[in-house]
């Protein structure tokens, strides 16, 4: 294969990565933006989404699309419910004190991971894609499902954007984000808004995982990479900036796809992580947004 088609393939793969990453990072960014909580368990919500998707899809027989649709709808709801409970039972009692919440979400990370290992097991298992079609390009065939992932991710992000900017719920969230005290004084139930945001963030991670699980397999350790990549995206994009998150996800997803085609993936990850750490040291406001303090 010549360089051109090879590059096209890398770009397509990068776009799929970017789409899923944007959804995941959006969840992390929302939680940090509104609640000022760094959710270290975010990657585990992603993993939980994928594992539940496998479980739900295995419950129904018949056409794979039925199982996939069921997973797409139910799995994020279940994960959001888990996150809601965790927020009410743990985070709210810690009064969102940054250090305590980080320690608590680390605890949550271990708990979810171990429960997944106990009940799901150490195997990696796929979910069947809802349709099995290849689009024939002149040089290679490409999975139509992967292209549809990009489309679905864009739709979901649009929906989130509408929720945030065009609905009452979104208004409450934005009011809480910009000034917690005043929001409270105006009778906004800040506690419930926080719980909702935490659940929404986790749900976004879960939905991203359900989209990707037909092409990558579900595994109990799959949460670490999306967590680190989401951190990277959120930091580069600037915290709480939706547009920044999107641009950064595209940037990271594409370069990840392209770099890992040509270099050792470990080296690529090393360099990317180092670069982002340095960005955070020398430009804590990220490339677009506001500082993370």
């Amino acid at each position: 294969m010549a360089f051109g088609p090879y590059f096209l393939l890398a770009t397509l793969e990068g776009l799929v990565t970017a789409a899923v990453l944007a959804l995941t990072a959006l969840g992390l960014s929302l939680v940090f933006g509104v609640m000022r909580v760094v959710n270290v368990a975010h990657g585990e919500f992603y993993m939980l989404g994928a594992v539940l998707a496998w479980w739900l899809a295995s419950l129904v027989s018949g056409h794979p699309a039925i199982g996939f649709l069921l997973a797409l709808i139910v799995s994020p709801l279940l994960v959001a419910a888990v996150a809601f409970l965790a927020e009410r039972l743990v985070l709210s009692r810690l009064k969102y004190e940054p250090e305590a919440t980080i320690v608590a979400t680390i605890g949550l990370l271990y708990i979810i991971q171990q429960l997944a290992l106990t009940f799901y097991g150490p195997e990696a298992r796929p979910v069947r894609a809802p349709f099995d079609m290849r689009i024939a390009l002149p040089w290679f065939g490409y999975s139509a499902y992967k292209l549809s992932v990009i489309g679905m991710a864009v739709l979901l992000m649009l929906a989130t954007w509408i929720l945030l900017t065009r609905t009452k719920i979104g208004l409450l969230m934005r009011a809480t984000q910009s000034d917690r005290e005043t929001a409270l004084a105006f009778g906004i139930p800040v506690g419930r808004v926080y719980a909702g945001v935490f659940a929404l963030g986790a749900g976004l991670a879960a939905v991203a995982a359900v989209l990707i699980v037909p092409t990558q397999q579900a595994h109990y350790l799959m949460g670490l990479d999306p967590l680190l990549l989401s951190f990277i995206v959120v930091i580069i994009g600037g915290l709480g900036s939706l547009r920044g998150t999107l641009v950064a996800a595209l940037l990271i997803g594409l370069s990840d796809g392209i770099i890992s085609m040509f270099f050792s993936p470990t080296l690529a990850k090393m360099l990317a992580t180092l670069l982002v750490a340095l960005v955070l040291v020398f430009r804590p406001q990220g490339l677009f947004g506001t500082a993370m303090r």
Binding site: V38, V90, R93, L94, P98, E99, A100, I102, V103, A104, I106, G107, L108, L109, Y110, I111, Q113, Q114, L115, L117, T118, L224, L228, F231, I235, S264, T266, L267, K269, M270, T273, L274, V276, A277, L278, L280, V281, F282, P284, A291, M292, R293
Partner: protein, 319 residues
């Protein structure tokens, strides 16, 4: 010396005497655990200096421990160094890494500091995987038995012998405990606590906050590296697992549980957690579940830790 000082001195002396005596009464299995606990408690004490006293919540201390581990392990394995210079190489590696990381990461504060240290540690971990020709990655290196001998004037200690191993671990533990005991009573130690409590005021008073924090990071890094280097020569195994995120979280858990900013807290926390996991692993293989639940319970109901609560409720003089 004040009465509180005398009491503290007595208590710490008594703990060391007790640990010494335990060597002769403990059954083999528990003596092995305690040797390991003492080495890891040194790691926790190093972490406590940064987190407990200076208020720097680092999520990357595994890289200092691993720097010591690899500094000692690689020089023994590949260059055939003997234990003393290899231990020195471990300390040096830890000090250099801590100085470099401290210099960069201390430009940030709060949440950004945690994430930056986490990321640098992740780079270090990936590095140990990438240079797998030398480190053998996750599989790790087993240090040859013959190389694990400590030369002293007129004697040679075989570190693979359980009793010698226990005493060597205790010697290191005692040295670091005494060092920390003196350090936190010194003007430098008091300055660190003051920085934790009110950084701005210290700056106004004319203290160089950055230099003090950097020095705290370096001392903390060297102590953690000492634990890592000792772990390599005492237990003979060097692997990537010790550089993974989990080993940044564990000292945090031990210190939180035992009591941050207390000199004996790290030992108490490490010992307690070791036995909780030991007992739990008889019931379930999911020992990380125990770690997770312990983390959440501690931050929810026990934020001052064991020694911290004892100090608050009963023994106000406890250091």
């Amino acid at each position: 010396m004040t009465r509180a000082g005398a009491r503290n001195l007595l208590l710490h002396g008594a703990v060391l005497v007790l640990l010494f005596a335990l060597n002769f009464v403990l059954p083999e299995y528990h003596r092995g655990i305690l040797s390991r606990v003492m080495v890891l408690a040194v790691f926790a004490m190093g972490y406590n200096l940064a987190f407990g006293y200076t208020g720097l919540l680092s999520l990357g201390h595994a890289m200092f421990f691993a720097a010591g581990l690899y500094g000692a392990g690689l020089t023994i394995y590949h260059l055939g160094w003997s234990v003393w210079p290899a231990f020195g190489a471990g300390l040096l590696a830890g000090g250099v890494v801590a100085a470099a990381i401290g210099f960069l990461a201390l430009r940030t504060t709060g949440v950004a500091f945690m994430i930056v240290t986490l990321m640098f540690a992740q780079v270090f971990y990936l590095g140990t995987l990438y240079f797998t020709t030398y480190t053998r990655g996750e599989e790790g290196l087993i240090l040859p038995q013959a190389s694990r001998k400590l030369e002293l004037p007129g004697a040679e200690l075989i570190l693979t012998d359980p009793a010698v191993r226990y005493m060597t671990a205790l010697t290191l533990f005692a040295a670091v405990l005494v060092g920390i005991f003196l350090l936190v009573r010194s003007s430098f130690g008091r300055a660190l606590v003051a920085i934790r409590e009110n950084e701005e005021r210290m700056r106004m008073l004319g203290y160089d906050v950055f230099a003090n924090k950097l020095l705290a990071m370096i001392v903390s890094g060297v102590i953690c590296a000492a634990a890592g280097a000792a772990y390599a020569v005492l237990f003979g195994y060097v692997g990537s697992g010790f550089a993974a995120i989990q080993y940044s979280i564990l000292p945090l858990l031990w210190v939180l549980l035992g009591g941050a900013a207390t000199t004996l807290g790290p030992l108490i926390g490490t010992l307690f957690m070791f036995y909780v996991i030991d007992i739990a692993s008889g019931l379930t293989r999911a020992h990380l579940l125990v770690v997770g639940i312990a983390l959440i319970l501690v931050v929810l109901y026990f934020p001052k830790g064991i020694a911290g609560t004892i100090r608050e409720r009963w023994l106000r003089w406890l250091q």
